[in-house]
């Protein structure tokens, strides 16, 4: 059978659909007459199917792995953005040195929003430079929050009921705030890096009649944000309010949990949403 000898090298390519139409026709003609080649082609088809099924079904991606990849990509975006903005992390304070300082420097930090203002000396602590570092650290943190609000990350959680999945990365409980009463529509949740101190915070995004609202949840013991904003009381909740780059920011703490809301609404509206987020 000279036909077999000539067509044998084409059978793989036939099964892979890599032959030209006339070659395909030639092979098909031959298959009508040749049981052995029919069996070869059928076996190859079946092997292909078995391989596809076996390989695809053998190792499904777990949620944990998917999350890990999503955060690796998010971290990569942050690095890229930091490079593009010429941000150097070389001079950043590690958070461990910041936490005790933040407690001591709370009064001075109230002035953090007015960055150039002279810091009053603290009688219990002679190191004024540390205050300045803290003030500028909180400044940068507020910048980070506003930046994440303006350039929202890709949602890692698309179902509002599943925001708890962000917890392991943030290290505090993450619950969806009850903003429905304001007509807020859920858009998605994810975690983002903030640089000072280097921490992950959860971001939950909502759309309130065309206004974008971001709710941040984080470990307040490590991110002493509230201290640098103007204190107010909304629904008996102490809230700190300020503005940055045209966005309003409201922040508060409860039992070690930090909450912040950024939006293009005015400060009192952000504060109201924040108080409802508790």
């Amino acid at each position: 059978m000279t036909s077999c000898r000539r067509l044998l090298p084409l059978l793989d390519a036939f099964v892979d659909r890599e032959l030209s139409p006339d070659e395909t026709l030639e092979v098909e003609q031959h298959l009508l007459d040749c049981r052995t080649c029919r069996a070869r082609v059928a076996l190859q088809h079946s092997l292909k199917l078995s391989l596809r099924r076996a390989v695809r079904e053998s190792e499904p991606a777990t949620d944990g792995f998917r999350r890990r990849v999503v955060s690796a990509l998010a971290a990569e975006r942050e690095r890229e953005r930091a490079r593009a903005h010429g941000v150097s992390r070389g001079h950043m304070l590690p958070w461990r040195s910041i936490v005790p300082l933040a407690a001591a420097a709370a009064v001075a930090l109230l002035l953090g929003m007015r960055a150039n203002q002279q810091q009053p000396p603290d009688p219990t602590d002679g190191s004024q430079r540390d205050f300045t570092n803290n003030a500028s650290m909180v400044d940068r943190l507020l910048d980070d929050f506003v930046m994440h609000h303006a350039n929202p990350p890709l949602p890692e959680v698309v179902d509002e009921a599943l925001v708890g999945r962000l917890e392991p990365e943030v290290g505090v409980p993450v619950r969806a705030p009850s903003l429905r009463q304001y007509g807020a529509e859920w858009e998605g949740g994810s975690t983002v890096w903030v640089n000072s101190p280097h921490r992950r915070v959860a971001t939950l995004r909502y759309n309130l009649g065309g206004h974008h609202v971001t709710v941040f949840m984080y470990d307040a013991s490590r991110i002493p944000l509230g201290a640098s904003l103007e204190p107010r009381v909304v629904h008996n909740v102490p809230v700190y309010v300020g503005t940055r780059r045209g966005y309003s920011i409201a922040a508060s703490e409860k039992r070690g949990m930090g909450y912040a809301v950024t939006s293009d609404l005015d400060g009192s509206e952000s504060a109201e949403l924040l108080a409802a987020s508790f």
Partner: protein
């Protein structure tokens, strides 16, 4: 809408590509597991691949096959990391050490080997198929996975593996033949098919050497037919 800071187009584009790349996560992981034969290493490989892809995203030509591009990064990363000297060449260059010719068994046996697919033996068969695949040398395993699991075209596989299309075809052919031989042994061991001597039919002489010659003419004909 009164949002003031709209995201810059660069970032938006990156999100879009990232989102699309993530739809191939399962696929990349399945390939990575078969390449590394180790779940933990495979997960690292996939993560590295996606991060590299996003870094190099400007090299991706929109409108081309994103999955093939990702598989190319994945395969290259795998080869560079685990096979510092590149893929082994010895198996490729030397004469065919496999005594089994193309028509190594008769039609009845080949038909017998297919039957289990339609029966209750599938889990066993899947495990056997995966094991047989894992035993293949890297260059054959990569070619077979890209062609049979990922269904890339010969041209795409050639780009992924950085070799000519003819090499892809011979790697595929030989990889598949080894697979069939292994599965035949297993099918025999569990009694699916009876023992059968290697057939020496007239057409079986057409195996590897003749094939290597034929490939060129085949490729020439393919080119002229397009």
């Amino acid at each position: 809408m009164s949002r003031k800071g709209s995201p810059n187009p660069n970032t938006t584009e990156a999100y879009a590509l990232e989102q699309e790349a993530l739809t191939h996560l399962e696929s990349l992981l399945a390939v990575a597991v078969r390449l590394t034969r180790n779940r933990a290493e495979a997960e690292d490989l996939v993560q590295d691949t996606l991060v590299k892809a996003m870094r190099a995203r400007r090299q991706f030509m929109p409108g081309t096959n994103l999955r093939a591009w990702l598989l190319r990064i994945l395969t290259n990363t795998f080869i560079n990391r685990y096979r510092r000297g590149g893929l082994e060449k010895s198996l490729l260059e030397g004469p065919d050490a496999d005594p089994l010719a193309d028509g190594w068994v008769g039609a009845a046996t080949m038909e017998g080997m297919r039957d289990p697919e339609s029966q209750a033996l599938r889990p066993l068969i899947q495990a056997e198929v995966v094991r047989a695949l894992d035993e293949l040398p890297d260059e054959f395993r990569i070619a077979v996975v890209l062609a049979d699991v990922e269904e890339l075209s010969y041209r795409e596989i050639a780009e992924v593996m950085g070799c000519p299309i003819g090499t892809v075809m011979s790697r595929l052919h030989r990889g598949r033949r080894m697979l069939k031989a292994k599965l035949y042994d297993q099918a025999r061991a569990i009694g699916l098919v009876g023992p059968e001597p290697v057939l020496v039919e007239a057409e079986n002489d057409a195996a590897p050497k003749a094939k290597a010659v034929d490939l060129d003419s085949f490729r020439a004909r393919r080119r002229s037919s397009r």
